[in-house]
Amino acid sequence: MSRRSVTQQDLPKVAANGLIDRRVLLRNSALLAGAAGAGFTGIVRAAAEPLAVDDWSMKIGTGVQPYSTPSRYEAKVIRTLANPTNPGNNQARTPHHLLDGIITPNGVHFVVARTGAPDIDPAKHRLLIHGMVRQPLVFSLEDLMRYPMESHIRFVECGGNSAPMWSKEPIQADVQALHGLLSCSEWTGVRLSTLLDEAGVDPRAKWIVAEGADAATMNRSIPLAKAMDDAMLVFYQNGERIMPINGYPLRLFVPGYEGNMNVKWLRRLKLVDAPIMAINESRQYTLLLENGSAWRFYYPMEVKSFITRPSPTMQMKGPGFYEISGIAWSGQGRIAKVEVSADGGKSWGMAAMQNPVLPKALTRFRMAWQWDGRPVVLQSRATDEAGNVQPTRQKLIAERGAPRTTPPVTGFPMGHVNAISSWGIDAKGAVSHVYV
């Protein structure tokens, strides 16, 4: 195969500023032969240094451990902690800029925990189902784990994720700080409807109050229709028992709904005819609007996406080929398409979506890009199978009123912020958070 230097004009463009047809990445087209065979980089690189045999190839390595931990060279792939010394409001954010694929490793799953992780003895833990039922029931964990189980890959997103985007000025921080209250795992457990059927739900019941066994005894009202639809009681997270801070030994799982409703350390489900107006549905997790009124009971997390690479605080390595990569998700089903723009939203090209594309799960998208070294603004825009399109920042502001403050990056001035994120790249290759 003959090799030649490739220029930007050689690659099939789909949008301004160097975005390249996704079929190049999908590797199912004649485009690949031409483009990949041509070498992609477009810049002449210095020859590599001569190779030497490395030290680690010449001695026995570390013995196998009962439970693996990442390489010491990956020490930065950790959660950032807010208020680590105050268990009153622990938050831990997932480092999406350092991860790939769609599964969040359990050790870096995001956390919002108000009173720390309770040390629950699974042999003593009980679940009570009562209220408007034919027969109140108590289950041990052993009881619960005898029912038929199923596994689903689903995201969990805090209702307050991306709140730092709701600022007068663009907050300069990485995507871990801006969008890190989001994770995706394979969750395994039993269907809640199975247990509700066993207790016999009174036809007048319309809601379920779910309550945890933690010190806060956190509670939320869940619509019964959701409980009977796809809600689960889960025991496993990515194949192993749920981490203590994520709800061990038992968590309510309501796919697509805001994270706080997936009650951790679940101990009680009470069937009622009206919502209980707990603090986390009447004070927290409400959205204050411009006119002073507020939305509440705003459950499904809306369609959203952001680019993880390149993203703010990163530095480009000069002009040439890059893969733009990111994640998209919707609490209302599958992602139907993700588009990427390199000119601040004036022109868009279709990104390649990596399988699997699952409902209420993260979807990884990729876009080939030939950067010419001039300033650009990168954006991604997701559309879900229900037809919901990720809105611009301007559209969200038109609905809710403009941000009133520039809050700290850990602040929560607004919830359910799903606006398009804009990453600016300057002529020196520095990536920053911008508004367009």
Partner: protein
């Protein structure tokens, strides 16, 4: 599983009925009476259903507050390590920077009792008596000008308290979805 049982399940599937399947689901729950579950049943509705016996005045609550709450929430509910509890009236609409406190924002007084009883004091949750919870609730509402001096809170009076921002919310479920 016997052949006849299998046949019955298939028949039910064909008929689109889940009755036979439901009958075949395992049942591992152990029956319990509501009275035996009472120690866990701390739910309180916005209509006051579930509020326990007991009573407390703002004056009584000020003593409990000073001892158990002020360290985090400030001597007058102005906030500190914990959230501000008092004030903020008139700040909800733009362009004001919103101050969302019990007085300015919370729609139901029952939620104050419920949250204090289940979660507070932060380092000693569930240690206050019901009388103390009523008293602290009365004091917080009193500092916000919602409950008068000397007005005792109990399961009847608390349920009747009308919070200033009671009608400040729009419920998006289930109409939006």
């Amino acid at each position: 599983m016997s052949m006849s049982k299998t046949a019955a399940i298939f028949a039910a599937l064909l008929l689109g009925s889940s009755a036979a399947l439901a009958a075949d689901m395992p049942k591992f729950g152990k029956p319990i009476s509501e009275s035996d579950a009472a120690a866990w049943d701390i739910s309180i509705g916005p209509d006051g259903v579930g509020l326990p016996a007991g009573s407390g005045t703002p004056a009584q609550g000020s003593m409990v507050y000073a001892a158990k709450c002020a360290a985090c929430h400030g001597p007058k509910g102005e906030g500190g390590a914990g959230p501000r509890l008092v004030g903020g009236a008139g700040t909800l609409a733009a362009p004001a920077v919103p101050v969302q406190t019990v007085g300015s924002y919370w729609p139901y007084a029952t939620t104050v009792f419920d949250y204090v009883r289940r979660t507070m004091p932060w380092n000693q949750p569930k240690t206050l008596t019901n009388d103390e919870v009523y008293a602290v609730t009365a004091y917080i509402l009193n500092m916000n000008g919602i409950v008068k001096d000397g007005e005792a809170m109990n399961k009847d009076t608390l349920a009747k308290v009308r919070m200033p921002n009671r009608d400040g919310f729009t419920e998006l479920y289930p109409n939006k979805f």
